[in-house]
């Protein structure tokens, strides 16, 4: 039966798994990605799931997806449109077909396309039969039925058997991509160690799917994505949220300051809280507070007591923390506030990504209230920016707001594992016990940073708080000129951090027709789009920012060398307006999108070309 199929070599490929919330698409996607990574592909992934845990079955609201982009070249994004769409029911096909490339391979569980399911998805006729999918390479496989069939030899209940259909489809994919099943078989072995029957069922379903792929005629050719050329080293796959948690743990270890996290669960930031909760063996103290305010306030208390204090949240929680951020600013205590941004306002689109909290991070507090604001720009570099956020906060005695977003927080990519010894040292300005010259607001002349004395330290008893205080002594003061002085000092202290952050880099020529400017989680899409332009010979470069307050010192100088500047962000123009305010001498064009979706490379290159053509 099995026939020889020809193999098509692919530079890169985007595969999307979609199904009902309970169909196990996240796990299927993750296992497929891990197998690809172990085979040497570079990759980026992104899960796409509804806010509801189990929305009504077989409805569009209940569709859960997982996209992976893998390749034998450097992979920067999880991909715009997919080459292969795996759809487990009519609703998932209907809601995701728009994300498939023309001519894409569709693998569909045809057994679910019965009258009721088709109707629930909102189709008038069966799309598998009405010719509407003629432009695609359609593989109709009755996956649910075949799965049951393949487990007939096992004495397993119907429900458990049905649940292995994701393994069956994974088997088809492994055949389609010429992948080795071994890693996944081992995973199943470990995961279901205590449930031999479930283990056997999953392994049987996986193998059955693979064999099925081999036999059906609908699969005429298979794909091969060869290993990517990557720097030698030890790698793992990592999501932005886990990388953030680990970067903070590394900072705690290297600074000698115990980690304290005060936080409250909120999508899409909860993974950081859950991850840090696991690492008590590293001394991490994690306090799941009664609300967002208690989360940050407990962190401020822990900071006063000498910890590397952190609070993690997303937009709505970030709003609730505003007053307390002001308290950390005026007391001049270190504190890292991680905001994994999501689409707002209010509850907005909790599981969708956006960059619309920048203005709030910069200015959303009462009073003159400066804090360091920075942003990570890929899942893996969340590790390094979380580390740097902690370093700057501890060394400059000021809150740091680290912006990531749902896209890089949930998304994953390969991470070259560093040695913590190679990370920059962190040296908090801790006061010396019994230093008779100690004053709570005496400052280092160069950095304007005060010293940090913790309760318990001998001979340094002092009081700090949210009232304005005199410089040096720190006594409560309502003196007008003192207030002006303290406002100036707090601003200048943050401005001087510019001396301690790297200069802004430019990707491409350092002058040209167009400078594309971005910040934060859009880096992958912007690099892809700008690279594309450069390959076409256009004089386009990219300045992608990770440091926003303060800006790198060479920012204005970079802007001066380009004819046009285009600032691209997933908001209505927050960074661009910040630039108009802080470096007003240049004209900034803007390209914005607020759909809860990442940029697509195509829409970016279109925008670049349009601007280049404009006279």
């Amino acid at each position: 039966m099995a026939q020889k199929k020809n193999i098509v070599e692919l530079e890169d490929v985007v595969v999307k798994f979609v199904g009902d919330s309970g169909d196990g698409m996240q796990l299927t996607g993750t296992l497929f990605s891990d197998a690809a990574a172990i085979a040497g592909n570079d990759l980026a992934t992104f899960p796409d799931f509804p806010a509801e845990i189990r929305a009504p079955q077989n409805t569009i609201a209940g569709v859960s997806g997982f996209q992976v982009h893998l390749g034998q070249r450097k992979i920067l994004t999880s991909g715009d449109l997919c080459d292969v769409l795996v759809a487990m029911n009519p609703a998932s096909l209907r809601s995701n077909l728009k994300w498939a490339k023309p001519g894409a391979t569709l693998i569909v569980d045809s057994a679910t396309f019965e009258e009721k399911g088709i109707e629930k998805a909102g189709y008038q006729t069966n799309p598998l039969e009405d010719g509407s999918l003629n432009g695609y390479s359609l593989i109709k496989a009755p996956i649910s039925l075949l799965t049951m069939e393949s487990l007939r030899h096992l004495e397993i209940d119907k429900r458990s058997a049905e649940r292995t259909k994701n393994m069956f489809v994974l088997g088809i994919l492994y055949f389609l991509f010429n992948r080795d099943m071994e890693v996944t078989l081992e995973f199943i072995e470990k995961k279901f160690k205590s449930k031999p029957l479930i283990k056997e069922a999953n392994q049987a379903a996986l193998k059955a799917g693979f064999n099925y792929g081999e036999t059906i005629e609908a699969i005429k050719s298979t794909f091969r994505v060869g290993p990517a050329k990557m720097e030698k080293g030890l790698y793992r796959n990592i999501t932005g949220n886990i990388a953030t948690a680990w970067g903070l743990l590394a900072a705690a270890e290297n600074s000698g300051r115990p980690l304290f996290l005060g936080s409250y669960p909120i999508t899409p930031a909860t993974e950081i809280l859950m991850e840090l909760s696991k690492h008590k063996s590293l001394g991490a103290k994690v306090f799941q507070a009664e609300d967002e305010i208690a989360g940050i306030c407990s962190a401020i208390g822990a900071s006063f007591a000498g910890s590397l204090a952190i609070t993690t949240t997303s937009g709505p929680g970030f709003s609730l923390k505003s007053e307390a951020i002001g308290l950390a600013v005026i007391t001049e205590l270190p504190l890292v506030i991680v905001n994994v941004q999501r689409a707002g306002p209010s509850t907005g689109l909790p599981t969708k990504s956006e960059q619309s909290d920048l203005m709030q991070a910069l200015f959303g507090r009462n009073g003159e209230c400066p804090a360091i604001v920075m942003a990570a720009s890929s899942p893996a570099n969340c590790f390094y920016y979380a580390y740097e956020a902690a370093k700057l906060s501890l060394e400059h005695m000021t809150p740091v707001i680290l912006l990531t977003d749902g896209y890089i927080g949930f998304g994953s990519e390969l991470f070259k594992i560093p040695d913590t010894k190679d990370l920059p040292a962190i040296k908090p300005p801790i006061a010396t016990p019994n230093d008779t010259s100690f004053k709570p607001y005496r400052r280092d002349e160069k950095t304007l940073v005060r010293q940090w004395a913790h309760p318990g330290m001998e001979g340094l008893r002092h009081r700090i708080g949210g009232l304005e205080k005199t410089n040096i002594d720190g006594n409560v003061s309502t003196d007008p000129l003192n207030h002006q002085l303290m406002v100036n000092i707090r601003a200048e202290k943050v401005n001087r951090v510019a001396d301690y952050i790297p200069l802004q880099e430019v990707m491409g020529e350092d002058s040209g027709d167009l400078l594309v400017v971005g910040w934060g989680g859009t880096e992958g899409a912007l690099v892809s789009a700008v690279t594309h332009m450069q390959q076409e010979g256009k004089k386009v470069s990219l300045a992608h920012f990770n440091h926003i307050m303060p800006l790198p010192k060479n920012t204005a100088e970079i802007f001066s060398r380009f004819k046009k500047i285009l600032v691209c962000e997933l908001n209505m123009g927050q960074f661009v307006n910040y630039l108009r305010m802080t470096i007003p001498e240049y004209r900034y064009h803007q390209f914005n999108k607020v759909q809860g979706l990442p940029f697509h490379v195509q829409e970016l290159t279109d925008a670049f070309n349009n601007l280049l053509e404009e006279k």
Partner: protein
């Protein structure tokens, strides 16, 4: 001097002067807070911990200026948030003796959520809750403990809100320690503060405090010279509940509630009276004692409840010690290399 498994005791004898601050105390003359400050300065040397280990945390309000007026480590926070700030301090460093100065508005209105949760968790801190039944610093609006019907700046026809009974709120939140004192009794305040320090867990000390400006004599029905002996019951562990000018009244359990009886009447003797058990884990009697008020009952003062339960901060330390002893992940490098990794 108190012995504590974590908090270091002072190697030298401390006096009141060790805790007097150099700042001008700016409470109104006659404010009850002055007496509370005196009680703290009195009791800290007696508690005897190393002076650097005392830490005072506060929120906002008249009460919350307290940290500036006592020479310890101190932190003046934001409105309602003293309890979570203090939670962070104590969890981060369980070797500290953490004290919170807060008021009825700060802790039961804007910070109400935090109060019930710190109490529920039983974090080992001591809360001095200054209850003057009014917002003082904003000049006289009603608070969550203002008696119903009272005329204030925001209730010109009288409040229409049912006030909290602090003891009921604390014990409803599974509080392990509750004590009550009046601001005109420095000795009693010092005693209950000492007991609060001794208790492992969240200790709430309600101080019935007078606000001379906006709620003068708000606790007059309890504290006035002509009433106090008939309306104050001083609880002592292991002793029968007796009160009254002539020590001839007592509290008994009657049906499902408490009742006041006269010793010598209807054959009642001291042996019939309830004997105070502050350490009882069952809060039923403590709840009833906490809710007693005139005119039918005296107000219970002293330590009403001091029940032994595990503290949050101890359990944190235990989990960390266990994880450190049993986990393969001892450094961040171990963590980075755990799970699925591969060489390229």
């Amino acid at each position: 001097m108190l012995e504590n498994k974590r908090i270091q005791t002072s190697s030298v004898e401390l006096t009141k002067e060790d805790f007097v601050s150099d700042q001008m105390v700016k409470w109104c003359p006659g404010c009850g807070a002055h007496a509370i400050l005196a009680a703290v300065e009195n009791v800290f040397p007696r508690i005897g911990y190393r002076k650097e280990n005392f830490t005072f945390i506060s929120g906002i309000g008249c009460s919350s200026r307290f940290p500036y007026y006592v020479n310890t480590y101190g932190f003046h926070g934001i409105h309602g948030r003293a309890n979570p700030i203090a939670s962070g301090v104590k969890i981060a460093n369980p070797d500290l003796s953490v004290w919170i100065a807060t008021g009825d508005g700060d802790s039961m209105a804007i910070g109400g959520n935090h109060l019930i949760h710190i109490v529920r968790r039983n974090i080992d801190v001591n809360i001095l809750l200054f209850n003057n039944q009014i917002y003082g610093l904003t000049k006289g609006q009603y608070s969550p403990t203002t008696p119903m019907g009272q005329i204030t700046k925001t209730s010109p026809q009288g409040t229409i809100e049912h006030p909290f009974i602090t003891a009921g709120l604390i014990m409803g939140a599974q509080g392990t320690f509750f004590a009550r004192a009046t601001d005109n009794n420095v000795k009693l305040m010092s005693e209950v503060m000492y007991e609060a320090a001794k208790h492992d867990g969240t200790s709430v000390v309600e101080i019935l405090q007078n606000c001379v400006i906006f709620a003068d004599k708000t606790h007059g029905a309890i504290t006035d010279r002509e009433h106090r002996e008939e309306r104050q019951l001083f609880l002592k562990h292991g002793e029968p509940m007796i009160f009254g000018k002539n020590k001839d009244k007592g509290i008994v359990l009657k049906g499902t509630g408490l009742a006041v009886v006269k010793i010598g009447e209807d054959g009642i003797t001291e042996n019939d009276l309830l004997v105070h058990d502050q350490y009882s884990k069952d809060p039923a009697i403590h709840r009833m004692l906490g809710r007693m008020m005139p005119p039918d009952f005296p107000v219970a003062l002293g330590v009403i409840r001091s029940a032994p339960f595990a503290t949050y901060d101890d359990l944190v330390e235990e989990q960390i010690e266990y994880a450190k002893a049993n986990s393969k992940i001892q450094t961040v490098n171990d963590l980075l290399r755990s799970g699925d990794t591969w060489e390229i």
